[in-house]
Subunit: 227 residues, 2 copies
């Protein structure tokens, strides 16, 4: 991963017209992966040197990340990896409680979409039996992303992706919290079954209840764990 001199270069001839976007991807990845944990300061000069780009280009990448609320800029102090507080968790669930049930109620339930959802549930159940916690987390996020995709709206899917990215930040904050997703695999399965049966209202209200529960649990962990 790290190379000899502590700096990295992009291998391909990605030069010209893509460095900013490439940089943003790299940083997003590192943050999501847990290196650069919440609260970390991203010093311009150091990072620019390490990634072998100019401060200006780095700044452009920061702009992207800031727009995604993964990172925030404090004027004259620098940019920091967002450190989610209780209020951020509440905001995340406010969004999800609106968008996800709406997609269930009013999205377009095509056959391939339903099949996709069922495939994800299958993977989640497999991961559950195998005790594969990261796999379950992954499947869970995929499922909720797919639910929003029922809306057909690229924009809402993007919003959801960013929201799920912030969820990952929350999990990164409580790294040693007990595995959170175990209990929800079955609720996900039931939800997709309701959808398959065309009982959308029940699916929607069930999901809203589900989200309430999850939010409460997260807030509980957070208040016990935070500082």
């Amino acid at each position: 991963m790290a190379d000899s001199a502590g700096r990295e270069r992009h291998a391909g001839p990605a030069a010209h017209a893509h460095t900013g976007a490439w940089l943003a991807r790299v940083l997003r990845e590192r943050i999501s992966r847990g290196e650069l944990p919440p609260g970390t300061k991203l010093a311009e000069q150091a990072l620019a040197e390490q990634l072998d780009v100019s401060r200006n280009t780095l700044r452009e990448a920061f702009g992207t990340l800031i727009a995604e609320s993964i990172v925030e800029r404090v004027p004259n102090r620098g940019v920091f990896v967002v450190k989610p507080e209780a209020e951020d968790v509440r905001e995340i669930y406010r969004i999800r409680r609106m968008v996800e049930p709406a997609a269930l109620l009013w999205g377009e339930l095509t056959e391939p979409a339903l099949a996709g959802l069922e495939a994800i549930v299958g993977r989640a159940m497999a991961a559950l039996e195998a005790g594969d916690v990261p796999g379950m987390a992954d499947a869970n996020q995929q499922l909720h992303g797919a639910v929003v995709a029922l809306s057909g709206s690229r924009t809402l899917s993007t919003v959801m992706d960013q929201t799920l990215a912030r969820m990952r930040l929350v999990f990164n904050r409580m790294s040693d919290a007990p595995d959170f997703h175990t209990g929800y695999a079955e609720r996900n399965r039931d939800l997709v079954e309701l959808l398959r049966a065309g009982r959308r209202e029940e699916a929607a209200t069930g999901l809203r209840d589900y989200l309430d529960t999850a939010e409460a649990e997260l807030l509980g962990h957070l208040s016990r764990w935070a500082r």
Copy 2:
């Protein structure tokens, strides 16, 4: 408006730590106002000179605007004011058909919020009687923004603001289209009355119908008018 030498400076001592954001505001304003109509190319050097900022800073502002989908960058060709096509209109209404009814159904209906909605309706009706078309357009956008605000989510309100900004781009494209908002003032009023009566489901389904109608009308105009 234009000053002697064709360039402008920011008056206050806003220097340091805000130029980028200030620039983004100025450009957003100009685009929304209809100078810089859809399709306009924003040349870096010319704009930087005119606004008296460096190309680098201008680039940062572009980043913001791109994230808001007001403007788009074509690699090696420049950034252009977005020129909404039929598909963009459909996407706008996909978003609105999810988010607005969801806010009606599941948002928090506080007394001040209701009062605020009624105040907006009042202004809209006044504008209707006075034949004040821009006033009606304004009140209409305010109302729908306020509806989404019922969700309590800052993020969703931001998404809605950006969506409404794109709506304005659509209107800018068909500048001579007949006034679009007249018919909807009364539907807005009825909608708020339903809300006041606590009949959320009816309000939500009514709004979805409303949005379907509006979308169809816009698409009609667009296909007749476009090129």
